[in-house]
Symmetry: D2
Subunit: 389 residues, 4 copies
């Protein structure tokens, strides 16, 4: 097991990325652009890793990686690699991330942290151990770096909505609304772990925790698959993950959050909707309009109260000073750019980037409780605090 | 027990109304205006009934009733009264409605039908019996006569959204968001039966059933009171009803509906939000913009798909021909005007107005199941079909 | 010429209304309902006047007038008529209104005040003279009684938007978008005076003046007819009024207002859009959502600035205490109910209702200047202040 | 004068960019990213040019240019430079662009084409001459590459809105709403040419022409400066450009467009609003929500007509296949990425990129006519077609 390589060497941090499909493309964009907008420690993109040699070579050329490779293990042995960015499918997260941490690499891993609680626990343990050696890690809940949601969190933590009672979180998509859409590895529990639950409820639940700084104590949940068989290579195949999920979460503060996610909500394309209701104000958000935040200040005279549409594009808004003048909106992909910036800055400062693997594990436990409750006719599941380390 | 008075006499139908606060004012408006817009059988407002003699006399003068009275029983004895419109509090519904039906009066009763399932069952039995004698009855789920929601039901029944999978129903208000707001009979289980559940979840659930023409087979639910003590006449008093409620409903068709209601959703004033997702299209609605319907037609080319804002104010929209030119929006109160029109026309035609007491009972059973599930840690409650009569 | 009948007699004010089509229906609604919501002096609807005996009799029965008549002159002779509400077409306004004022009747006349400046001037002179005898008059710019616009005016006059620089006023409809829509008297200059200009630009211009409390000093304008021939009784007929009009108005304060109106803006049904930009804030409004006001307070920290959607349905909002609880929206027709309330209260108090005929004349002069500029290749026309009386 | 270097050599196209402030940053982003998303001919960023040696060197390092320089003329002599991207201020456009074209470089120049019609004419002549030698040029009206506006143009050209009657174009910003904001070169006619007119009305007018494929025949216009003196280095200085401008444009097709632009529309950050009304449908757009297009299809049954919000993020939408899955919105800066892609592809194909300098000149003539009309009390100015070459 390696010890941490010195950071204060003149050498730029070397970055390897594993995976080059959707998330690989998005992370590559972030690595390609982050230094043009933010002050970050020097780094160099070194190598892109994928299973198909031709495919990964073409992707490397296109996305700006000087080299490609097919064996992620060999990459962990390289001295010129300091950071491993894992965009491989969820079932590979634990193995790669743990190996990388043990090899002394800083690790960024896509969300959800893992497909099972057991894997996530192992990863969190590895992260804790690595952190003591100065090795950092982070799980890629990129929506924590949407400037509007950062502003929401600020307003909530400043007390601007008062005591939060309700949260309504929904993440609605429709790419499976067509029942003739094909079977894929994402619809197979063996590879995907779960469906909408792990993929998008994980984001919704992470946001509840992020925005409120709270924890989940009880869960009642339900999952459902509307289309149970889909056309595969050899005819109709069994869909073994959920299309949609519902939950109510009791929070430590006494607030209650509802969560509803779906991949069959026709017409909703990528709509993560968040509503936070406190006794002094409220917050609204929709990812399809990610540059906007709704805010109602209930301490103003009633005569003039109303939800404001704040266009979160002013220089004093989180991350915005680096970008364009007011009203020139940011795209979805820069949630990753912001994530990389914070990850790099934390590494340079020796700080601990957030969300940590432990935070990823917390989300994983809630997801598992939703499934457990669903199997128990929606009866409430208690979530106990994990023992302090 | 009287038999039905002949309808084809030249005499106009005489109307008595019981109750003169919020709902009494709204129903009075409907009786005062319905004939100016719609072809309805001749009727005459006869008497307004309330407990306080001065109060009811003043209300009668203001709202256009020629007479007032304090004893509802004596009104049921009057030969010049053919219709009784019950706007008294929920715990009085059963007694008055059953007596009125037995006295041979057509009855319109405000929603929810009653405070308990037992009362609602007795009322439904009385309505069934009366109907055989030509006496009609109706429960006032007035939002069934929002033109936009009637259009929504038409589109759904025509197959324009295809097979419905999801429904999201929420009814959010904020008049109890202030924890110093006073105690009242509405917050006392003895008088109000329940809180947000009976008051507004009843509307939301009725709409799910109305829009889809479906039935509820299973319920998982939860209720919660955020502010448990409020200032009353003699200091802090116990709030014994819910502030908010959540449920998932399995429907006979296989669809699943989520329901969420609250009186503490700061900034949401009277927002009954309905979303219906099918495999060919979707519907959106918000009562705060009750002249509008959102509709997405997923059978159009994807290139041009999107939620449309239909301003439901065209002459061919339900009820609209009677009103103003396009774009001149209707107010909330005309849901009652439309309700009275349909009630009167059904009486004249000898038809059975809908929603019937039986339909009101159906909603009541779902509400009871939410409470039962809430008491059982949200575990799913099966709803069996009531025996056919 | 009669002198004013005493108001302090016990006798209720008698009302006659002339005209029973669109506006007659809307005004009837107001007379039928105003006393159920507001404290107003006692009045009685007496007689509805129209040219077609059967038509007006049927309308009277439907809308709640006890009597009908075909000769408006004879109605002016009646001692039991104190108020004349003129909903006849614009070219009849001057003759009837002047005769009614001379007969000692209080007069409410629909907007625009008249079809020509000359008529409007005569009416204003008659109103001034009558006022000295205690006879009141008012022109029906009903949108001055939209609660949201009253709130807008309050905010502006309180300085909440600071110094106003820009106003953008548009009134967009689409009922002539179909070029096969028929010819009618409304499209003939002889009867209608003008097209979109008089009909809806009059509202837009009145609102600019109302909201800002300002006056117009210069006008550049343009009118246009997109469809110049339409099918009439005997084949295609010439359309002699405008379909659309544009103007910029210099205001006394130094602000500049743009005005754009159209009857061929496909998809815009009744969209009077108003935007007011000051140095401390801004206002947005759309008549299709008449219960809402957009307000941006630029004195708040930039971080949290944004346009608020104020649902103007709270008890402290103008006129709202009389109506329903918060969030239960009002319909378009109650702009007339509010207008009648203020008209009646002004009569009772001996005050001068606003907008006066003089204010109606002011709008008329601006409309005339738009036409004059349009004829002069849009060159600016100066508007001089009329001589003080 | 060089002749065109062969394009089919193996050598990548070399790019020089002049200017490194706002537009330089935006164009650099496009050059840095275009090849990661689109198939474009091979190119290499060679050199960034600016007046301040240190500043331009730092910018080159940050934005990804391998080299920097201070003398743009020397860069034109370089054989390894094939493309010159001009982001310098408007008053330098003509000189640099003409020199670059004469030096045989392909030229992309920021909008507006120039500060005066005379300069624009000279540039258009140079572009025409260069085109014959295979040298391409383009003016950077980047909003032509907003996918939603490309979709709008497609729908219009396919006849989906029918015959266009009205266009309403507004471009509203508020960065000068504060009257204490400082004087700058942008507010000085000598350097900036004009104010909101050249800066943002140019975009609005270009869009009118782009969307409709039409030309302007008549202009009535007006410009205004609300704050005439602003604090400069030596106290208050004269603002010599407009804060706001208004115009109506007659189009060759018979349609009429209104244009209104402002830098003092408090609360409007970067709101280019476009509305197109035809006899079969309408289009709505707002740059603050640049991923969305409003579309109303008036050929559908009236019952279900309404403006749709099309989220222009589907794979079949213009440029979108290259990006993210549906609903993952694009940012403002990718209008430039799309522009570079089309520019590069046109160069490779030997085609003529659009908008050409001639198209830029057309916009310039309309801007000049607005100023001319404004000086002539808004009287209409005729625009004659320039002589065919």
């Amino acid at each position: 097991m390696n010890s941490k390589k010195s950071n204060d060497s003149a050498r730029p941090l070397g970055v390897a990325m594993i995976g080059y499909s959707f998330m690989g493309k998005a992370h590559s964009n972030a690595w390609r652009n982050v230094a043009a907008y933010f002050e970050v420690p020097a780094f160099e993109r070194r190598v892109l890793v994928g299973r198909d040699a031709d495919g990964v070579a073409a992707a490397a050329a296109k996305y700006g990686w000087p080299e490609s490779a097919t064996d992620w293990r060999s990459v962990l042995d390289r001295d010129d690699v300091d950071i491993v960015d894992i965009c491989a499918p969820g079932f590979m997260h634990a193995e790669i991330a743990i190996a990388a941490l043990e090899a002394g690499k800083h690790v960024l891993v896509e969300k959800p942290l893992a497909n099972t609680v057991a894997e996530a626990e192992a990863m969190a343990r590895a992260a804790t151990a690595a952190r003591e050696r100065g090795i950092q890690s982070m799980v890629g809940f990129n929506y924590r770096r949407v400037p509007a949601l950062m502003l929401a969190r600020e307003l909530i933590s400043e007390g601007r909505v008062g005591t939060v009672r309700h949260v309504r979180a929904a993440y609605l998509q429709d790419w499976l609304a067509d029942e003739t859409a094909s079977m894929s590895w994402r619809l197979d529990k063996a590879t995907a772990g779960s469906g909408a639950l792990g993929d998008i409820a994980s984001h919704a639940i992470d946001q509840v925790l992020f925005l409120l700084g709270d924890r989940v104590t009880e869960v009642s949940g339900r999952t459902h698959t509307f289309t149970t068989r889909r056309p595969g290579a050899d005819g109709l195949e069994e869909v073994t993950v959920d299309d949609a999920a519902w939950a109510t979460l009791s929070l430590g503060s006494g607030a209650i959050a509802s969560v509803e996610v779906s991949r069959v909500a026709t017409g909703q394309k990528n709509s993560l909707k968040l509503e936070v209701y406190g006794d002094k104000g409220s917050i609204l958000f929709d990812l399809e309009d990610l540059n906007e935040l709704g805010f109602l200040d209930a301490t103003l005279p009633v005569r003039e109260q109303g939800f404001r549409r704040i266009l979160v594009n002013e220089p004093m808004h989180p991350f915005l000073e680096a970008w364009w003048p007011q009203g020139h909106i940011l795209g979805w992909e820069h949630t990753f750019t912001h994530q990389i910036r914070d990850f790099l800055q934390a590494i340079a400062a020796g700080g601990h980037p957030s969300p940590s693997f432990e935070e990823g594990l917390t989300v994983q436990r809630v997801l598992a409780a939703v499934e457990e409750s669903s199997a128990a006719k929606s009866a409430i599941i208690q979530l106990t605090e994990p023992d302090a380390p």
